[in-house]
Symmetry: C2
Subunit: 333 residues, 2 copies
Amino acid sequence: MTATTALPIAVLCGGVGAARFLSGLVRVVDPARVTAIVNVGDDAVFHGLHVSPDLDTVLYTLAGMVDETTGWGVRADTSHVQEALARLGRDTWFRLGDADLATHIHRTALLREGLPLSGVTERLRRAFGIGATLLPATDDTQATMVRTDDGWLAFQDYFVRRGSRDVVREVRFDSGTRPAPGVLAAEVRFDSGARPAPGVLVAIAEAEVVIVAPSNPIVSIGPVLAVEGVRTALVATAATIVAVSPIVGGQALKGPAAAMLASLGHEVSAAGVAALYADFLDVLVIDEQDADLAPRVTALGVRPVVAPTIMRDAAAKAALARAVLDAARAHGG
Amino acid sequence: MTATTALPIAVLCGGVGAARFLSGLVRVVDPARVTAIVNVGDDAVFHGLHVSPDLDTVLYTLAGMVDETTGWGVRADTSHVQEALARLGRDTWFRLGDADLATHIHRTALLREGLPLSGVTERLRRAFGIGATLLPATDDTQATMVRTDDGWLAFQDYFVRRGSRDVVREVRFDSGTRPAPGVLAAEVRFDSGARPAPGVLVAIAEAEVVIVAPSNPIVSIGPVLAVEGVRTALVATAATIVAVSPIVGGQALKGPAAAMLASLGHEVSAAGVAALYADFLDVLVIDEQDADLAPRVTALGVRPVVAPTIMRDAAAKAALARAVLDAARAHGG
């Protein structure tokens, strides 16, 4: 075993921001060191097919197949099936390209055969030739639900169908056992968390560095933290834990994180992010334009590190990965 | 109600030959008079999706969408999903175009929601703007199995994957109840037939004319006849029953019917077809080149009618439909 593979890195991930960060990380370290633990709280079933948007975004990004302009989906994908589904009268507000649909068809078939989502994800990882390990946070079902003034909505309903326009009053994660093969209805357990997928807690416990990717703290990292044992493992691990703030200059680089933090009573800033992770976080990488927030991060017991965090191109992604690893080394060493 | 809609026509159907015949029939009579009772013995599940090849061939043909060169599939369909499924390592010997896949995705989703196949078929009929009524022969599962020198094979395995090259020693139809929503494994009942879908027996009983389309008598019409009550209903109906021989000049116009009849010990001729249907058949339309077989058909108690039966173009399809209806009228009147 080489020195590089001996020091594992675990990354808690949402979708686009995390995938972009990971694509930089695997350019600066051996991908075999990297375990991505990916949110599945926004998984959904469309047309009977199991869609895992964040896992797919990470898969397509690391496979070099992602549509760079959107950050998700397969580049230059067609939508012939979706057009035909629309002609059959089906709701097609969730865009599913043809190559993308093949992933969902394959995933759904394997789940129905009884493979857990982690096993399916491993098969997809290998098929796409990805060197990093990808783990769903849980093999159980976990449904991110948001309460709006129109009531509780499933995440994709809020996020895609209604375009994140609703004010989010509350967020919860409904978990349940994934149905056994031959059984479609899952038992939803409102009163307890989803169980971690095999490898998740070990990856956190054995990591040299745990990175919290620049993803929405509430609905991307939040479901991962809600998985049973994850938060405890983060508090307990000997790893240095470094997060990258997804809030820059008081705004989210992508998605509804800023409005959501505000409506849920959190400060919309890197300091607000630090507060959400303060119980386990060692270092928060904040953008240069937020340098003045450093003392407030420090006051929360988190070491601030100022670096350029906007991932404009491949070089910037790699530079951010290096900055995160340098920050971890400086803290740990 | 007009006179034309008052006199219903039921058509027992396989795939391509039946679909071509139906496309002629609905040009010469009000489609609202026509009920197609379609074989589902060669239905199969690919990638977790329920495919009904004969129903789809009839749907696409009557919708004017069929690929005329193959006789099945959607004209000018792409295969982007299939190419992506192949990249994921899935078996793709059964060709599934993109628009075609939308049908299977939709059907599978509706079946999983608990709609019977007949209900799904009615939804597809309406979505495709088809005037004729389409019924699966059964809402139960029914699997045509063929015994070859390599053992029992599922029909599509024999037909598509192995290219109909095996000698067929025996044919059976395994039926079972379609799984309830939430349950995937069907209980297979080897000892009893599939139950007729709602409307099937009524369509036969109330028809003025029942037509047996020019389809493979063993594996296309055979499974329909094996549905509980269908053969009895054919014997009992007051309708005139007219079949079109799918064997012309000792050969099948399409598919493995000739070799299959021979290996199963039947005569490979229009007379052989007459023998298979003799217990319920009134009239057999045989091709002009088989005119010399007329006495042998008569000897089986079936009235032979000689007509051009090769459906080279739309005019020939309509002419054949007219010839069948004329033969029925001459017999019944």
